[in-house]
Structure formats: structure tokens, C-alpha cells
Symmetry: C2
Subunit: 155 residues, 2 copies
DNA sequence: CAAATATAGTAAGATATTCTGTCTATATTG
DNA sequence: CAATATAGACAGAATATCTTACTATATTTG
């Protein structure tokens, strides 16, 4: 054997700091979604490609530059991802009515199918976790995470 | 201007699913730690290098192969990261008494300094979040995350 | 309104990261 | 002790992402 596969972060050792505690569930969602999509036949994508679906406006489409910004990569890198997704039939580029320089990246039917599948996979995880924690604790967890998100994004 | 920098995931649109809610705080910790280390003078590292510090046994050292497994990359890739960290004086390779084939990757004094700084940075975040949420909600959050971690890693 | 500047996107090439395949040395096991 | 497994290193390929530079269209401003 020559290798081992893919996963990610952590930060503590002792009583497990907040970084590690967020990391494990977060990566469980990410990897679970990735694997679920693969099992559902969407097996021609990498994690990087999925970031596009996570940031795109699934109805109206999004500009390349906006996708790049929210995914925090260069527009050139996002262009590279989009080229591939376009070649695989997940997205299409259409002119943006409101700006002759811009184009909208829009989900095709296949892209919409992937998007819907991904949302269902995440919701499944949420349901399993709710069953494990109980509804009250799960609601409290979501509330606390929302508050932190507001704090972080707030400014 | 030609570019934009680095960050990561998400998954919902509507009421924000669990993936997005975990992602924002998680990345806040990761990026906050990365930036804090940079500001503290540890500015010759990438996120990938930090994974080593997140997985290494800071006292006894760890084997390459174990680091690779917990970071979920190939041993060759981990070797590449370790080579760099060794060249920068963060770690050293010493023979493993108990296995002639193996060597232990150990933190040098500089590596220990980085490790301690990183732990403090994460603890600072935890303190700020505790102040924001209040102690009871923070404790509940940590408990829920621990339970989910156990569920996920449990089997 | 013409000139200057900014923005959206593409193109080309460099660099960095991670992988696959292979090899050596040491351990373990039947 | 022969066969097999494990820890790690080496070489090279593949891939992802970045930097620099360019075109076309928009916006701003003197």
C-alpha cells in the first residue's frame, strides 16, 4: 500500500478545544455530502467543485467574480472550476443583461439535480443528529451557532 | 487588481443548514489562528503546515505515518510538509527507540513555541465566544459538539 | 462627452501541493 | 529463516491555484 486518503483539521490535545469540536462535525457534513453525491452518481467532481454549488445562487445564477469572492479563491481559479463544471454539463454561462462585461453562471438541469441532492444529504445529517441529541439540544445548538455566525460576520 | 485570497465552504441558501452553521465558526477559528500566528512572527507557514501541529504529540513526538493518517493525507505528502518544517526549524526527526524503521517527528523549541501560541489563540476565541453567548449556552454548545463528535468517531 | 479609471472575465505560464509507483531497511510471523 | 508487512524516502506525474498580463465593457469625472 502506498497512500492514505483525504480529510482535514484539528487543534487541541487535552480537553479538546473549540476548534477540534467544530472540525469533526463540520467535516462529517462535508465528507458525508461528498460521498453521498458520489454514491448518487455525481462521481466526476472534487471537493473544490462542490464549493461552486455551495455558493451559487441556484435560481438566478451568479457571476464568476462573486463566486470567487465567496469561495475565497481567485477569479482565475474559479474560472478553472467553472470550465470543468461546464464541460460536465452542471452549469452554463449566459450573458448578464445588466452588464455587458459579465456573464451569469447558472445551474443546468443536472446542476439543479446535484444541488437538490446535496441539500437532502445535509438535511439527512441534521435529522440524524437531532434524533441523537434530542430536539431541544439540537435547537440550542443551531441557535448558538447562528449567534456565533452573526458575531463573526457581523463586522 | 487581479485576485482574491483564501477561505472555504458552505452548503445552504435558505434558513442556513447545519453545514453552513458549522463552517463559519470553524473557519473563524482556523483563520483566526493562522492570522494570529502570522502576526506573532510565525509567518513562514501555510494552512497545510499547521495541520502537523494540530495532530502531533507535542511531548513525545509522532511517527510520520501516524501524522499522515490523522491528517488524512498520504505519507509522502506528510513527508513533504515535514521536510519544510524541519528546514524552518520547527521539528526534528529522531530515531524511534522501539522500531528501527521508524523515526519520531518532534517539536523543537521553536515548534513548541508555535504550538503554545496556537493553543492560546484558540482559547482566546473560546473566551470571546463565551462572553458573547453566556457561560451556560457556551457549555451547552461544547457538550452538544462533544456528543456529536463521539457519535461520528464512535464507529 | 472624452479621457481616465475600474470592473468582469480570459489566457498563459509558474509554482505549490498532493498523488502514484517504486525502493530500502527493519519487523513480525508461521 | 523465509515470507510478508511496515516505516519511510525518492522520483516523477498530475492537479490546483496563483501571478501577470490582456480584452472588452462600464463608470466617473474634469
Amino acid at each position: 500500500m502506498t497512500s492514505t486518503p483525504k480529510k482535514y483539521y484539528q487543534i487541541a490535545q487535552e480537553g479538546r478545544l473549540i476548534g477540534a469540536l467544530l472540525r469533526v462535525p463540520y467535516l462529517a457534513v462535508v465528507d458525508g455530502t461528498y460521498n453521498g453525491l458520489r454514491d448518487a452518481g455525481f462521481d466526476d467532481l472534487t471537493h473544490a467543485h462542490l464549493t461552486v454549488f455551495q455558493h451559487i445562487d441556484s435560481r438566478k445564477g451568479s457571476r464568476l467574480i462573486d463566486l470567487a469572492e465567496s469561495a475565497q479563491i481567485t477569479k482565475q481559479s474559479m474560472g478553472y472550476l467553472i470550465d470543468y463544471l461546464e464541460s460536465q454539463g452542471y452549469v452554463e454561462r449566459v450573458p448578464d443583461e445588466r452588464d455587458g462585461r459579465a456573464r451569469l453562471i447558472r445551474l443546468t438541469a443536472r446542476g439543479q439535480a446535484l444541488h437538490a441532492t446535496a441539500l437532502n444529504l445535509v438535511r439527512d445529517v441534521e435529522v440524524r443528529w437531532r434524533a441523537h441529541l434530542g430536539s431541544e439540544r439540537m435547537d440550542n445548538l443551531l441557535d448558538a451557532l447562528k449567534d456565533l455566525t452573526t458575531l463573526i460576520e457581523g463586522k
